[in-house]
């Protein structure tokens, strides 16, 4: 199926702004004396230039290295780049002058495939985008198609969706916290976070049979209702989980060495965050009070009506807190890595409260949870775009229907992609050891960045 204006050129385009097929003219690295140990392989030192558009020559700057600078390549196989991400650092000894992320190693043409399968058949592809928060991905796309089809999920289904989405938010933030500690050398909280995450994954396995790629929340509702006894299991999990959060605070949030590694590092001003399109804890860590669960589209915010919760962002110098939490340490500046991490920790507690409320509302609600649409359901000749608050930020889905069950275009606007774009700005002038600290605080997942 050929869309007008598109080529059949199958080379990857790194971004919509740089079309396929253009010429690239690049400057080469100056001389072997610029890098030490270059005999390790020239490929290691020269970053690959992305393919550029047809017609206009795009000048992509390759690094012109002065004699006292080193080009260091982190990845794509690297323990702390959270996936297959390649970071090329231009450093002067220990100080990083420039970071260039090279992405696309996990690109799986999900959006192209979306033009060939029905909407419900594309739900599993959304799972694999932010694979740590599959339920939220499913929810985002399902809501977008529901917006297009103008169908409404019954009340019980909405509460169930809130329950599942918030539980997955906890799981995603646990991975973020654990791997962040791991990047900084703290091995133990990683194990504790994953132990708790295992329990959540067991709960999800009882619900839909899968531990990671759920495809549970689908267009029109969910694939199946909760099994009997699940709510009790969920409540007992939440009861035993809350002391673990305090343990994590001791080991990470208020731990002196952790604070030294994260406070004041990678400060992102609110203006810059908004300009780069950052969202989620990255945005809220800079003090911007914006959460789509409150400020988004009605079809999404309706799910959270009636819940008692607050947007976790520092307003007037304090966070919304009704529990005794570790205070903001001296040296932590609003917008630094510590604040982004702290927002995630507070959101975990927030989500625990939301899950409890959702359990209660779900139990009281009557009626069906929502029937998935038929595979033969035709999509109207219109388009719908909806952004939802995924754990890592604002995840947007565009569905363009053309009268057949198969959409004409499915597009995913990924939060991690925009969050990652701010990396080079944040890393300017920091030390090499700070790059994992900043990258970990952005909490990206490459499945989402590359789709």
């Amino acid at each position: 199926m050929a869309l007008e204006g598109a080529s059949t050129d199958v080379r990857r385009a790194p971004s919509p702004e740089v079309p396929l097929g253009a010429e690239v003219r690049s400057e080469t690295i100056a001389g072997p004396q610029a890098t030490v140990g270059q005999a390790g392989g020239p490929e290691a030192d020269r970053p690959s230039a992305p393919l550029a558009s047809q017609g206009k020559p795009v000048e992509v700057a390759e690094f012109d290295v002065r004699t006292d600078e080193i080009l260091v390549n982190m990845g794509p196989q690297h323990p702390s780049t959270h996936g297959v991400l390649r970071l090329v650092l231009r450093t002067d000894g220990e100080v990083v002058l420039e970071v260039t992320p090279h992405i696309g190693y996990l690109h799986r043409c999900a959006e192209k495939i979306g033009e060939n399968v029905t909407a419900r058949q594309w739900i599993p592809y959304t799972d694999r985008m932010d694979y740590l928060a599959g339920m939220n991905m499913n929810l985002g796309f399902a809501l977008a198609v529901e917006k297009l089809l103008q169908i409404e999920v019954p009340e019980k289904g909405r509460h169930l969706r809130v329950l599942i989405a918030e539980l997955n938010r906890i799981a995603s933030h646990l991975v973020a916290a654990g791997t962040y500690g791991l990047d900084l050398g703290s091995f133990t909280p990683f194990m504790y976070c994953f132990r708790e995450r295992e329990r959540i994954l067991d709960l999800f396995e009882l619900v839909c049979g899968a531990r990671l790629t759920y495809s549970y929340i689908t267009v029109g509702g969910v694939t199946a209702d909760l099994p009997p006894g699940w709510l009790q299991k969920c409540e007992s999990f939440l009861d035993q989980f809350e002391p673990v959060i305090d343990e994590l605070h001791v080991l990470l949030t208020s731990q002196a060495v952790f604070i030294r590694r994260t406070a004041g590092i990678g400060i992102l001003p609110a203006e810059t965050a908004i300009q780069y399109g950052c969202s989620g804890p990255v945005l809220r860590g800079s003090g911007v009070n914006w959460d789509l669960r409150r400020d988004g589209e009605p079809i999404y915010t309706r799910m959270y009506e009636g819940y008692r919760w607050e947007v976790i962002a520092q307003t007037d110098g304090r966070y919304p807190q009704d529990h005794p939490y570790p205070p903001v340490p001296k040296g932590a500046v609003l917008g630094d890595s510590w604040h982004r991490f702290y927002v995630r920790m507070l959101e975990v507690v927030q989500s625990v409260g939301l899950v409890r409320q959702a359990i209660e509302k779900y139990s009281r609600a009557r009626g069906p949870v929502g029937e998935p649409i038929k595979q033969s359901q035709k999509l109207p000749k219109a388009e719908a775009y909806l952004e939802t608050e995924a754990p890592k930020g604002q995840m947007g889905f565009l569905v363009v229907g053309d009268g057949t069950p198969v959409p004409r275009r499915c597009r995913a606007r990924s939060s991690s992609f925009c969050n990652l774009s701010v990396l080079s700005e944040l890393c300017r002038g920091c030390l090499v050891a700070d790059v994992p600290a900043i990258l970990g605080s952005l909490d990206i997942v490459l499945g989402e960045v590359d789709r």
Partner: protein
């Protein structure tokens, strides 16, 4: 057939010291030179241990091997342009080096053989060195000005002649070291500010 271990280890250390020193001179690769120097100086400290000078041997290890050579290796590594820097020494330089080395050897040999206790080999053959005496304590006291090992030989109980230790040189050296430290810290700091002030080269944007 008794193996005289002292001689054996003396020959071993001596051959190592001289052999690795020759390797330093004849090697082409700077970092390998530094490595051979480590081994050569380590062998020299072994010789000190064999002579019963424990403190001096440990000092040799700490100062020469540990300190000087680490600095040497650092400096070599940070300035090496390619993984292996080959030094090509021309023929003329070899001749000059040989002449200077031979002259130095002649001077050293002449000085060594003019020391009276070292002239007769009969006394030295077969004799083991004296058993190790405690040297660290008297050395330390000498540094603060008291030569305890000479106290028994004093001509008169009241006179303190011949007892003056090394206090003054010790203090002078300490002050020198402080000056060096302060100077190094100052030099290092100034350079850091310079490189931090150099602006990062901006990336050219891909034009739309």
């Amino acid at each position: 057939m008794a193996v005289h271990w002292h001689s054996f280890f003396f020959w071993l250390m001596a051959i190592m010291a001289c052999g690795f020193a020759l390797a330093v001179v004849f090697s082409n690769n700077i970092v390998r030179m530094a490595f051979y120097l480590i081994l050569s100086l380590g062998a020299v400290s072994g010789l000190f241990f064999l002579a019963g000078a424990d403190f001096l041997g440990a000092m040799q290890l700490m100062i020469y091997v540990g300190g000087t050579v680490v600095l040497l290796v650092f400096g070599v590594m940070l300035t090496a342009r390619r993984p292996w820097v080959d030094m090509q020494t021309s023929g003329g330089q070899w001749v000059l080096a040989a002449v200077v080395g031979a002259l130095l050897l002649a001077v050293l040999l002449q000085t060594a053989f003019s020391v009276p206790p070292w002239q007769s080999s009969a006394a030295a053959a077969g004799a083991l060195p004296p058993a190790a005496e405690p040297t660290a304590g008297p050395l330390g006291l000498a540094m603060v000005g008291v030569r305890v090992e000479r106290m028994a030989d004093r001509p008169a109980a009241e006179s303190s002649s011949g007892l003056a230790g090394y206090l003054l040189p010790f203090e002078i050296v300490s002050v020198h070291l402080v000056v060096v430290l302060v100077g190094a810290a100052y030099l290092a700091r100034a350079r850091r500010r310079l490189s931090a002030a150099a602006p990062a080269r901006p990336l050219e944007e891909a034009p739309q």
